[in-house]
Amino acid sequence: MRRPRRRRDWPWAVVLLAPALAAFALWVFYPLGRTIWLGTQRSDPFGLRTEYVGLDQYREVLDSSQFHNSLKVTFAYVLISVPVALVLGLGLAVLANTQLRGMRFFRTVFSSTVASSVAVSALLWFVLLQPSIGVVNQFLKSIGREPVDLLNDPDRALFAVSATSVWQNLGIVFVTVIAGLQAMPQELHEAARVDGHGAWSRFRNVTVPMISPTLLFTTVVLTIRAFQTFGEIDLLTQGGPNERTNVLTYALYTTVYKERDPGGGAALAVVLFVIILLLTMVQFRFLERRVHYAS
């Protein structure tokens, strides 16, 4: 009697999937499991594990005022930096997607931040925003305004850090969106022009729906990146002033390395993971309805 094909094939399936599963197990599932487990262990002041406390530590993290502050700061940071980077990058891509002489130069310039590291862009903005020699304050002085120390101003520091992140992300948004725009059939634009639609209407009714898969992808990636921002914060503000830029990743870092509390840090990391996971699912669920995939 012949065995069903499905049952005959499964040993091969396991063999073929094994390398990928092994890699995932080693670098993703094991660290994730280990972090979740670490979150159940209390650490002593020297950072050594002492006792199993179950979910207590997770509860403590969720109840702490530091977590509430960091959550607020992180959401504010995401809500400022992601839409601004998206809108600016989309705008630049649409402008640079015209057939004009010298446009290649601008395309190179606009996409260049893809190739610059967080450290470089943080340093660049640190110099730009520097109170005495920075260009921003030079400009303020030249128009007769008082110089401001943006990175040390509790009300403005988050915006200053967000500006760095927007600048840093502009390149990736520009590159992905312009790729989407160039894949779009030119005739759709021409048809809309002949059909009586002006530039704005064509952008809204034709361009945006046609590149919606690209926009969804970019939004999700930018949001995840923004939740994981660490470099800009560490290099520019170290979470200050007055905890006003203390995003979750930075709070996690201080918990583990400054407060020597790996257990608490692990619990915070798991909470951050769950937040990003849920948010990404929500984004797909609600944004994908408006996305048109070419068939």
Binding site: P185, E190, V194, D195, G196, S201, N205, H292
Partner: protein
């Protein structure tokens, strides 16, 4: 409804001249077909009219209004693209209604006009579908519905049938003619397919290398091609072209080892010259395989190939002078025997001098114009 006028219109892309000094008037309500091989400038001419390209020189007017500085959206045209250019994210209904939206038409009226256009093209049941769920023929109809929905002054069509299969193409041709008759609007239709041109056009404008070669009714361009290009381009299989010499003093044109009487007007015109090199054209359907004893002009030839197409035979022969000639023999039925010609058989090809077209060998222009 509107007439269209191209005046000395030239379009250059860098060093390439796509349209070269085009002068063309299209009457109000006319169905004009721009015909030519690919790269002849016909699509560029259409895009210039639509405003999707700007002329390098010359002016275009629509309904008496110069449109050189008018944006495409304000030219009151509708265009059907070869690819149909349907918006893939919109339903059929939304695609059709799209040209109505910028015109400030109320929603209920938009729906009414959309339904009317959809009904006219038999799309009533498909209004909620997306373009990806339609067949090629249905997409083509949606593109047409989108064009007719706002009743523009002029319809532009850029090879709208080239993505359809042969049967659907033939069917859609007759439907387009019917649509033109019902709407009574000016149609300007670009194609490289002479069957489409011959069957649909009121007049055909034939272009080659950016230049207008001839404008006329389909029958006129077939009967009296203005130059060698048109002679070769119109008609399938193409006109036979043989090199010959017009000898005005002897009142003959000698070709392929024979001589045919020359039109006297031409002999008068060239009476000062001993001989004039000419290209002699004769359509395959105007040649016959004749009995050697029969009177008239004969070309002796050898059969090389016989293509039997059921309703006709295409007999490929080579004249004793070495010129390849195609003879088209219609099979008329009625119990008449089907000619059986074997390869390498010697035959006599008969022709009537009135069917002969003469072109100047150097200018390629028709001589008895």
């Amino acid at each position: 409804m509107a007439a269209v006028e191209f005046t000395r219109v030239t379009k250059r892309f860098g060093t390439t001249t796509a349209v070269d000094g085009l002068d063309l008037s299209v009457a109000d309500g006319e169905f004009l077909v721009l015909l030519g091989p690919s790269g002849c400038g016909k699509s560029t001419a259409l895009r210039l009219l639509a405003g999707l390209e700007q002329p390098t020189e010359g002016t275009i007017s629509i309904g008496g209004r110069r449109v050189d500085d008018v944006d495409p959206k304000d030219r009151d045209l509708a265009m059907v693209f070869q690819s149909y250019a349907l918006y893939p994210h919109m339903s059929v209904a939304k695609n059709i209604a799209f040209p109505l939206r910028p015109r400030g038409i109320a929603k209920a009226e938009r729906a009414r006009l959309t339904n009317e256009a959809a009904e006219m093209l038999g799309l009533g049941a498909l209004l909620d579908r997306k373009p990806a769920q339609l067949s090629g023929g249905q997409r083509q109809r949606v593109a047409l519905a989108r064009a007719i929905v706002r009743k523009p002054a002029v319809f532009l069509m850029d090879e709208p049938l080239s993505n359809l299969d042969a049967k659907l193409r033939a069917q859609t041709r007759t439907e387009l003619v019917d649509l033109h008759r019902r709407l009574g609007t000016t149609f300007i239709y670009v194609t490289h397919d002479q069957i489409e041109a011959m069957t649909m056009a009121d007049r055909v404008a034939i272009m080659e290398a950016g230049r207008l070669q001839q404008v006329g009714t389909p029958q006129a361009v077939y009967d009296r091609p203005a130059n060698l290009f048109v002679a070769r381009f119109i008609g399938s299989p193409p006109m036979n072209i043989m090199t010959g010499v017009l000898e005005p003093a002897r009142r003959t044109v000698s070709l392929a080892g024979t001589a045919i009487p020359a039109p006297s007007a031409l002999c008068e015109r060239f009476s000062a010259r001993a001989s004039v090199p000419v290209e002699v054209g004769i359509r395959p359907e105007h040649l016959r395989i004749v009995d050697p004893s029969q009177a008239g002009v004969h070309i002796t030839a050898t059969v090389r190939l016989v293509e039997a197409l059921g309703h006709e035979q295409l007999v490929h022969v080579v004249s004793s002078g070495g010129t390849p000639i195609v003879v088209r023999l219609p099979l008329l039925g009625g119990g008449l025997p089907v000619p059986k010609l074997s390869v390498d058989a010697a035959v006599h090809v008969g022709l009537d001098p009135v069917d002969v077209h003469l072109f100047d060998a150097s200018s390629t222009e028709r001589l008895d114009a």
